[in-house]
């Protein structure tokens, strides 16, 4: 099967979208943008391939008459189990790496005690992770780093307290090891994991294995042929691509938003360290755009700092802000000082959720200015980028758009974080069909 790939190498996350020659997006993948952009785009692409496989499974399973009606649940179970397989493998890797790193971290009196503590921590981790992947469980994030990290912190603080070890070296070991692990994409064969996941699901759900095995194996045999790749995003200059395979993220976001919602005339994208207001015409062609100036105040990273400061997951910020009853006015959106501002407010006795709500409003106010600079908001308006996942931000945005521009259709796709990559994939398809890459 001929496939076209768009990669959006963002400052926080790297996204990939795989598109077929008819323009259908088959799969997408996301990963943390890490120290090595090559790895990041490789991992994102691999994730997109995984997601494409699931799309292909769906296509095949839809043709199995006996399964009628129950595919989505089945696929979700499959995916969950598959992730768990991946995570367990990475966890094992992390465990070994941590053990190996014990001796390289200073400030450790008894490495034996640390090794013991690590055993305990990882026993706990494996258990907690399996729980996190139990049917119906909620997860803070889908990144290994986030999940493993937050569990590790909790567990190691407990273990440290019980054993009288100091907490800092344990953290240092983690900090050091997670990087190594992240930079190693899962090594073993993906197909094997798909099949292992299949086994697990059929066992859990008592489904006849034979019904599923053949279609899944067939889907796995289908070749995903990479015909043309276009890169975009902040790190695009670092992509190992020739110039004609690179598009500015403005064009990609414009086009991506147009593909998702053809009626789009204004796009707001809030990414990790930039905010863009884009005006597009009926063909998704960019008519005007503005970005934040050199100051990264009020971009997505700001929320990251806040989440770190509060020791919360990014996912949890929005819901917490939604609980607010009165908004505290926050005037500085300087990312670096976000933490200080937060502490300042807390010490004045303001409530957490009110402050957080204020912070969200501050971000949105800033993007309203950028929109205003780019020519305002016209119907329809599409909100993209990581921050679009945040309900509190969305709520403020709706309010302010209505106050300033009246009644406007606001589109937010659950997959809006992939908008740039989708646009890039479409560019890849257009170029690839014109002149295939050799």
């Amino acid at each position: 099967m001929k496939c076209y790939i768009g990669i959006d190498l963002g400052s926080t996350t790297t996204k990939a979208v795989i598109m077929d020659e008819h323009g259908e997006a088959l799969g997408h993948g996301i990963t943390n943008s890490r120290s090595n952009y090559d790895t990041a785009s490789r991992v994102a692409k691999m994730e997109a391939v995984i997601s494409t496989r699931f799309t292909l499974f769906r296509h095949r399973l839809e043709r199995v008459p006996e399964l009628k009606g129950d595919i989505s649940g089945l696929l979700a179970d499959l995916e969950r189990s598959f992730r768990l397989e991946l995570f367990l493998e990475q966890l094992e890797d992390l465990h070994q790496t941590c053990s190996k790193n014990v001796d390289t971290v200073p400030g450790i009196d008894s490495s034996e005690a640390v090794h013991e503590a690590l055993e305990e921590i990882f026993r706990n981790l494996a258990k907690t992770l399996e729980e996190l992947f139990a049917p119906g469980a909620e997860r803070k994030s889908d990144f290994f780093r986030d999940l493993a990290g937050s569990v590790y912190m909790q567990v190691s603080e407990d273990v440290a307290r019980q054993t009288g070890l100091s907490y800092d070296p344990l953290l240092n070991i983690y900090d050091k090891s997670i990087i190594e692990v992240e930079n190693r994409p899962p090594s073993a064969n993906l197909d094997e994991k798909f099949l292992a996941a299949l086994d697990r699901v059929t066992r859990e759900k008592r489904i006849d294995e034979k019904l599923l095995r053949k279609p899944i194996e067939d889907a796995l045999k289908e070749e995903i042929e990479e015909c043309y790749t276009v890169g975009t995003g902040y790190g695009r200059v670092r992509l190992p691509f020739p110039k004609e395979n690179i598009r500015s993220e403005i064009l990609c976001h414009g086009l991506g938003a147009h593909l998702m919602y053809p009626g789009t005339r204004t796009v707001l994208d809030i990414g990790g360290q930039d905010t863009k207001g884009i005006q597009v015409d009926e063909n998704g062609i960019v008519a005007n755009f503005q970005m934040n100036d050199r100051c990264a105040a009020g971009c997505g990273r700001y929320l990251g700092y806040i989440a770190d400061e509060m020791n919360m997951g990014l996912h949890e910020l929005g819901p917490m802000a939604m609980k607010s009853t009165r908004t505290v006015r926050i005037n500085s959106t300087c990312t670096v000082f976000a933490g200080a501002e937060l502490r300042d407010r807390l010490s004045l006795g303001e409530k957490r959720e009110d402050i957080i709500a204020g912070l969200h409003r501050a971000i949105i106010l800033r993007s309203m200015s950028i929109l205003s600079r780019s020519g305002g908001v016209s119907d329809e308006f599409t909100f993209t980028g990581g921050v679009a996942k945040n309900e509190a931000a969305v709520k403020e945005l709706r309010k302010l758009v209505e106050e300033n521009y009246g009644d406007i259709t606001i589109n937010i796709d659950p997959d809006s974080i992939y908008t740039g990559a989708l646009g890039a994939a479409e560019f890849a398809k257009r170029s690839g069909i014109e002149k295939p890459l050799h």
């Binding site: 006015r329 926050i330 005037n331 500085s332 000082f337 200080a340 200015s369 205003s372």
Partner: protein, 386 residues
């Protein structure tokens, strides 16, 4: 009235971004007109003489959410023009019949053009002032600019403005100037009785209400203040310099006081103290206003100082007159005039052994911790070591 009530009224005026008091005044009679003006100084007498009300516009403070204003300004430009534009774009200044932009810096200067672009129908004037202080050169130019202003306002008012009209207005403003001076004097003598946060609000009120009402409020305050029971605190005496345009948030003024400083002189809202003495009411009023402007007006960085020796003398005099122990240079971030001038003033203070510190603020500064830290250390030092 007790000071508390007076200050509450002033606080209400300060927080009212809709300028209700001015709107009410305007609605009081069909042909009333309100003319907005920006810092530092315009000859309000001429507006008053035209039967109009001058309204001081000094940005939106820390309570306003700025959206469109930020769209028009880069991050390296001070705050006051953006919140002022926001006030304009969001219709809060729609009731104005004119806007005056006095010469102070390039930002306000360019804002005058922006206002012409967003309000092409409005009476919008850039009001230039002389930087040449000779009667025959700068004075002559200024008198003709004043005539131009008078004629423009007369046309807007639909009636002529006579010398008598202006002289009468000068008399009213003379009274205001006297009261302002009195309040400043009282604060310098007994700063614990007259906190700066109150003086500030009193002065701010003058921007947004008719001058006659302002005179009344100040009289009431002067009558009430000595009756308050306020303990003397262990604080040092400082002069604030550099805050003549964009205003600090009230919290900042309070933080300075809380961290152990009595403010005994300042250049907040200097417009109502710009002319230092009474202006004669028995001559050609424009020439008298010009004479006062050229020879008896306050000093700020927005003014050219013709002689090297004179730089900083005004501030030094204030330190001496008010028995201050130190100077706090507090300028708005990105305020070119204040920040360019500061090294020269600081040198002058050091020459005369006047301790000083400096920091920057924005009208919407939220974090007071660094301010307290600096003002507090300054106060600690002046206290522990004197």
């Amino acid at each position: 009235m007790a000071t508390e009530d007076i200050i509450e009224r002033c606080t209400g005026l300060y927080e009212d971004l809709d300028f209700t008091a001015a709107r009410q005044w305007k609605d009081g009679a069909p042909d009333r007109k309100v003319i907005g003006y920006m810092p530092i100084y315009v000859p309000e007498e001429i507006i008053h003489a035209a039967g109009m009300m001058p309204l001081g516009v000094v940005g939106g403070g820390d309570q306003m959410e700025v959206i469109h204003g930020d769209a028009y300004y880069q991050s390296y430009i001070c705050r006051i023009p953006r919140s002022t534009i926001e006030l304009g774009v969001t219709g809060k200044l729609d009731f104005l019949d004119g806007m005056l932009f006095p010469s102070i810096c390039d930002v306000i200067r360019n804002l005058s053009g922006m206002w012409q672009l967003i309000r092409p129908d409005m009476y919008v004037q850039y009001f230039d002032v002389p930087q040449n202080f000779e009667d025959g050169v700068g004075g002559e130019y200024y008198v003709r600019e004043l005539e131009h202003l008078r004629d423009g306002l007369a046309a807007l008012a639909g009636r002529s403005i006579s010398d008598d009209d202006i002289n009468q207005s000068i008399a009213v403003y003379n009274e205001r100037r006297r009261l302002v001076r009195e309040i400043y004097k009282l604060r310098a003598e007994t700063p614990w009785m007259v906190p700066t946060s109150e003086v500030y609000l009193l002065m701010r009120a003058g921007l947004v209400i008719p001058v006659e009402e302002h005179i009344q409020i100040m009289k009431e305050y002067l009558a009430a203040a000595p009756g308050e029971d306020r303990p003397l605190r262990d604080a040092c005496r400082v002069v604030i310099s550099g805050s003549f345009c964009e205003q600090p948030p009230l919290n900042l003024i309070k933080s300075i006081e809380m961290s152990g400083c009595y403010i005994v002189d300042d250049d907040y809202m200097l417009g109502n103290r710009w002319l230092l003495n009474d202006v004669a009411t028995d001559g050609n009023p424009l020439e008298m206003l010009s004479d006062a402007f050229l020879h008896h007006s306050a000093d700020t960085a927005a003014k050219y100082c013709a002689r090297k020796e004179d730089v900083g003398q005004y501030l030094l005099q204030s330190v001496k007159d008010n028995n201050a122990e130190g100077v706090i240079f507090a300028a708005a971030s990105f305020c070119d005039p204040a920040l360019l001038e500061r090294p020269m003033l600081a040198d002058r203070m050091s020459e005369h052994g006047v301790p000083h510190i400096s920091f920057k603020y924005a009208e919407n500064s939220g974090q007071m911790q660094p301010i307290r830290e600096q003002a507090g250390t300054f106060a600690d030092t002046l206290k522990l070591w004197s």
